[in-house]
Symmetry: C2
Subunit: 701 residues, 2 copies
């Protein structure tokens, strides 16, 4: 495979091309102004610091690791500043840096702190090296005009090609892997191909080292996103994966427009961008699986992706996201978005109730989102009927969250990790991420006999997704039915959740968990929530002055029991206050045996010697039965106003909540007084399996 | 005392006068537009509801109580709308309401649910009746033009005079009381005097029933504010008291300008308004004593007072407060403030470091505020060296709080109360307000032998204020010295607190508590704080998996012990993260005996069967000694950025912290590395009393 040369496109022509530079040079004001100043500041700081290319020594977080990371961001900013200003001091800086690296790289062996499976040279792991090359090749491409042919071939032969070869031929186990790390590698090598005319690199990037198409960019597009653009690890990792996909696709679009990469697989890349936008509430990503809760749509990856998506679609509603991001990328798309915002002609982003199927062929369950009102202060119910989501996944099939009034109300813990905080185990995932955050009891789903789903065995869990049995979106109600019969040996359970949207009052949630088993089990149904408990109506409530852990393992060892009361078979109610709104949780159960049902109030804090866990709280509905249906209603209501000193509708509207079995299945009737009576009609289930169809009927009272 | 008549000033001429109406009629846009629409909406809703004047039956929170409250607000809004629009439907509504009340009032006996000492007729307590009359007389005054003389005398003789007589002659124990309730009564009666020409009412309102001047408005101005305009119960109740003071003063200014009421006692009323503004951080009042934490400068009382203060002072910096209030009062002052904001010429309010002396003559200690940066994101230290603050006061002499980066960092619990939330003990102060919120251990001050100051005996505490020994404000540092030798039998303690302001880095706090006693005691020094603990360096740290209460009474019964470690004599450190900033607390002690010092980590939750307490956390420094100095440094530092995924300066800058006794007193030397070394030099103390002078010296490192 000789270095066949296609005519190197005139630069810059990767993610940034001539049209971007022209647009940027003519634009001014608005969010763009801010982004331009940020880039200039970053570039000028780099020039002041000068050329610092230390011999590779440290692992992640250490000095040389961080310096090489700063270097690729500095080269990119300086090269972009050169394109914007034409000032040679910027191109000179980038050239000096490239030459310094070209001098060092050929002499490098593997990194002293190298990671076994995927060692790097500049960095301890090749992933960082690929990210480095993705930024560095763009810096090279943006200063290429200012380089002599001799300088170009020196940098290519001593830096660009050696790194590209190392990341491809040198690391087939990563380059050919259908995995996000593989995407960074193919993006880096492919871009080197376009920028230097190395057609072989482009071909390998697209179709894999052996050009068979069994690996490479196209295969990754086929395998790593579901047909709905859902990335199986969830939004936190999807936004991380987005960058190499979107940047390399833009480089392909620039150099090979006829490949129509953004239309590939029914426009899968645009779907992936829109999905990341939609898997968020009030600016923050849904914290499912290993996710840190302060990550949201302002993240750099989505700022870049948004501008590129606008380039392709001219979809004005994307400006509603840029408005919230409060910055734009330095590109033609960024210029356009900045103009729309400055001219006050932002169109609202059309958030809808829908499902996002999981799995490459969309057959690994789904994430169901049920919405009412806008995405900053409206109501959102998330039902997680997905697959495991690989190593970063949690054992939380059929768990759910509620977002309302701008807040996370019914919560998912997210990951136990303090990114980049060295004092917290070097900023890595904490032990409590395994002992708590991944466990089933840390979620709002059924926990059988105090064990986690699949006994928290990843190999098992990876084989067994949940099922999205049905999803209906309507004016009166959205309804999602999820099912899993493999989470616990001999226990099947189905969860019907509905977001009811009465015209006159706040929407409310109906939740029905139908559990079937031949054997008797202890069933726990936790509800983790934010807010101050106002009151409840449980009988014989015991409040404990000594708080003890609720178990020894599977997450229970972290939960301190602060009180418990007996649950009646119906109309138990718990009310709390979060911000200026009340929430009432009214629940009951229908079971074939006397169940001594209880409600247990808990808070995190036990077996946490290093104060690693947030002191979150919740309540567990516990009963012992074989077949049982656990139903509930969660209602936002009223207003608490501290400034004007008034409170309205502090009490639940719910008059009665009755579950009854019918010929065709069952009915849960929710009488909400003046608001009307709403009946969730369930059908299609039988002795051993839950309902497969549901609808909501409303009658006036 | 016959009804001497001075010529009734043409109306309206109380708080609102002709000049206000003219200004309002000509103005438009900005915040004013919003306030005008709000008033119209309130007035129109009242007209739609019609005349509903129920026979008095319910206590506070009950239907008739709330309806009569809605009525006075409705009459006020409708009367104001009549002045603005001239539409007679508004004046007709007010006239009908006044006539309905004039028909009922003479037939009323005392209220069925009457409060023993201060019974009302319309309401269960006369305070509500006074508030009712303050609003109603203004409504009457604003519609008087549209009334015939016959209607006016009917309303005066059957309503205004009977209520005024009941609130004055009928309730001398309130009218002549030097207390906020007395101020509402004199304001109501005085305004009736001005609006109807009853000179006797005006005179009694100003000088008391017997016209001796031993009670009445002037005496209240003399007694209820310190010379610095500080109201002894603290900002939460000061803003409540403000309304009658400011409204009646405006009525006096309108009708008796020569009294120059706003200049009385060196402009005490303007000082009181400015003080309420300054006893806040990031829009919320300092939650000292019985205070609910969501109350802030947006409160109605301060919106009214601000416009009146602007009328008198034309002080442009008041518009900085109106900007944050996001509304203005419907008055000439409100119009002017709205214009300044609309024209973007707001001047920043000049928040300064200073003390607010307590006590009518300023000799009951003081509240010391030490500031750096602005009042929304800057740093504020509050040292509470005041008196008890009467019945709503807490046993917290020499306690302190830290506000920084927009957050409450070192906290005061405030009151245990959910205002207007009936399910929480009718919205009244909860039992936990006494068992926890008032207790010394709920504050950041010395607790001796697990008892509260003055054994929580209010009669004792009312007699014994703290002392503000010294206060110095400078460029490098502000220093406050507080002392109390009466809180605990045989124990004197002095607290020196300094806010150090290095140019290059965040300001930090030095805190030195010097304790003298002949006997050995257990000394607890709690620190209540918001944020997630990152780490600490205590030796032999025990983390408990079963959390037990730390005592049986005085607040300890609510505190669950989650862990403890041994404290060295110096350089103990605890670091936590709040929002995007780290805080490090480095502390030590200098004592004459082996003290087996410990640090105990706790959280609230025990003996709280009704979930009434927030689950706040903190750490207690505990040691056993007779004479000891407990010193510490609290440092805000670094940045945690979740969006751009970086962390800077996560570690304390403090290199060493050394306390040594010197000839003249003592020195605490704080070596902050590059930032320099700062020495707190203490002098003036002796064997049995703490330092009386302090200064800060800085040396380069
Ligand atoms: Zn999770
Ligand atoms: Zn307090």
């Amino acid at each position: 495979l000789g270095g066949m040369n296609l005519a190197a496109a005139e630069s810059p022509s990767l993610v940034i091309s001539e049209s971007d530079i022209t647009a940027l040079r003519q634009a001014s004001g608005g969010l763009l102004e801010q982004s331009m100043q940020d880039n200039k500041r970053l570039a000028d700081a780099a020039l002041t610091e000068g050329i610092v290319v230390p011999w590779p020594k440290d692992a992640g977080g250490g000095y040389t690791h961080e310096q090489h990371k700063r270097n690729y961001k500095a080269m990119y900013a300086a090269a972009l500043q050169f394109q914007l200003s034409g000032e040679s001091r910027y191109s000179k800086y980038v050239t000096d840096m490239l030459n310094a690296y070209a001098k060092m790289y050929p002499t490098l062996g593997l990194h002293p702190e190298k990671k076994e499976q995927t060692p790097g040279k500049l960095f301890w792991q090749s992933l960082n090296e690929a990210v480095w090359l993705v930024y560095t090749i763009q810096a090279y491409d943006m200063v290429a005009d200012a380089l002599t042919d001799e300088q170009k071939s020196h940098i290519q032969n001593n830096l660009l090609f050696p790194v590209a070869d190392y990341l491809s031929k040198g690391q087939p186990q990563t380059f050919d892997k259908i995995h996000n790390h593989g995407t960074w590698a193919v993006a880096a090598v492919g871009m080197v191909g376009y920028a230097t005319g190395r057609e072989d690199y482009v071909a390998q990037a697209l179709k894999g080292l052996d050009l068979s198409g069994e690996s490479g960019f196209y295969k990754q597009l086929d395998k790593l996103f579901s047909p709905d653009g859902y990335y199986t690890e969830g939004p936190y990792y999807q936004r991380y994966a987005l960058m190499p996909f979107v940047w390399f696709a833009k480089a392909i679009q620039t150099n090979d427009p006829d490949k129509a990469i953004f239309a590939y697989r029914d426009g899968i890349l645009l779907k992936a961008i829109y999905t990341v936008i939609e898997l968020s509430y009030n600016g923050l990503f849904l914290p499912i699986n290993d996710a840190i809760k302060d990550k949201g749509i302002k993240t750099e990856e989505l700022v870049q992706a948004l501008a590129i998506a606008y380039d392709i679609t001219s979809d004005r509603s994307l400006s509603d996201i840029a408005r919230q991001q409060e910055r734009v990328s330095l590109s033609a798309g960024g210029v356009a978005l900045s103009k729309i915002i400055a001219s006050n002609s932002v169109a609202p982003y059309p958030y809808e109730s829908k499902i996002y199927r999981d799995g490459a062929s969309g057959k690994q369950g789904a994430l169901a989102l049920m919405r009412s009102g806008n995405n900053e202060t409206g109501t959102l119910v998330v039902s997680k009927n997905t697959s495991q989501g690989m190593g970063h996944g949690h054992y939380d099939r059929l768990s759910w969250q509620l977002y309302d009034n701008g807040n996370e109300v019914v919560t998912d813990y997210g990951a136990a990790r303090y990114l980049n905080v060295e004092a917290k185990y070097g900023g890595h995932y904490l032990q409590e991420n395994d002992t708590w955050a991944k466990q089933s009891v840390a979620h709002n789903t059924l926990v059988v006999d105090q064990k986690s789903q699949f006994n928290a065995d990843l190999k098992e869990a990876n084989k067994k997704p949940a099922e999205q049995v049905d999803f209906v979106s309507g004016e009166l109600a959205d309804i999602s039915i999820g099912r899993i019969n493999t989470a616990y040996e001999g226990v099947n359970f189905t969860r019907v959740q509905a977001l009811i949207k009465p015209e006159s009052v706040e929407p409310f949630v109906i939740d029905v968990v139908s559990i079937q088993s031949d054997a008797v089990h202890q069933y726990d149904l936790p509800l983790h929530f934010n807010g101050q408990i106002i009151d409840h109506n449980l009988s014989d409530y015991q409040s404990f002055n000594t708080w003890k852990p609720m178990g020894e393992d599977n997450g229970y060892q972290h939960m301190l029991l602060r009180g418990q009361g007996n649950s009646a078979s119906s109309k138990n109610r718990l009310t709390w206050l979060l911000g200026d709104r009340f929430y009432s949780y009214t629940y009951g159960h229908y079971s074939d045996s006397d169940d001594s049902a209880k409600t247990l109030f808990f808070q995190l804090g036990a077996n946490d010697p290093n104060h690693n866990l947030r002191r979150d709280q919740g309540a567990i509905r516990r009963l012992t039965a074989s077949n049982v249906v656990m139903y509930s209603v969660i209602e936002p209501h009223g207003e608490y106003n501290g400034t004007a000193e008034y409170v309205t509708n502090a009490y639940s509207r719910l008059k009665s909540l009755d579950y009854k079995v019918t010929q065709s299945g069952a009915e849960l009737t929710v009488n909400m007084g003046e608001t009307g009576t709403f009946t969730l009609v369930l059908a299609g289930g039988d002795k051993s399996s839950g309902p497969t169809e549901a609808k909501v009927v409303k009658e006036k009272n």
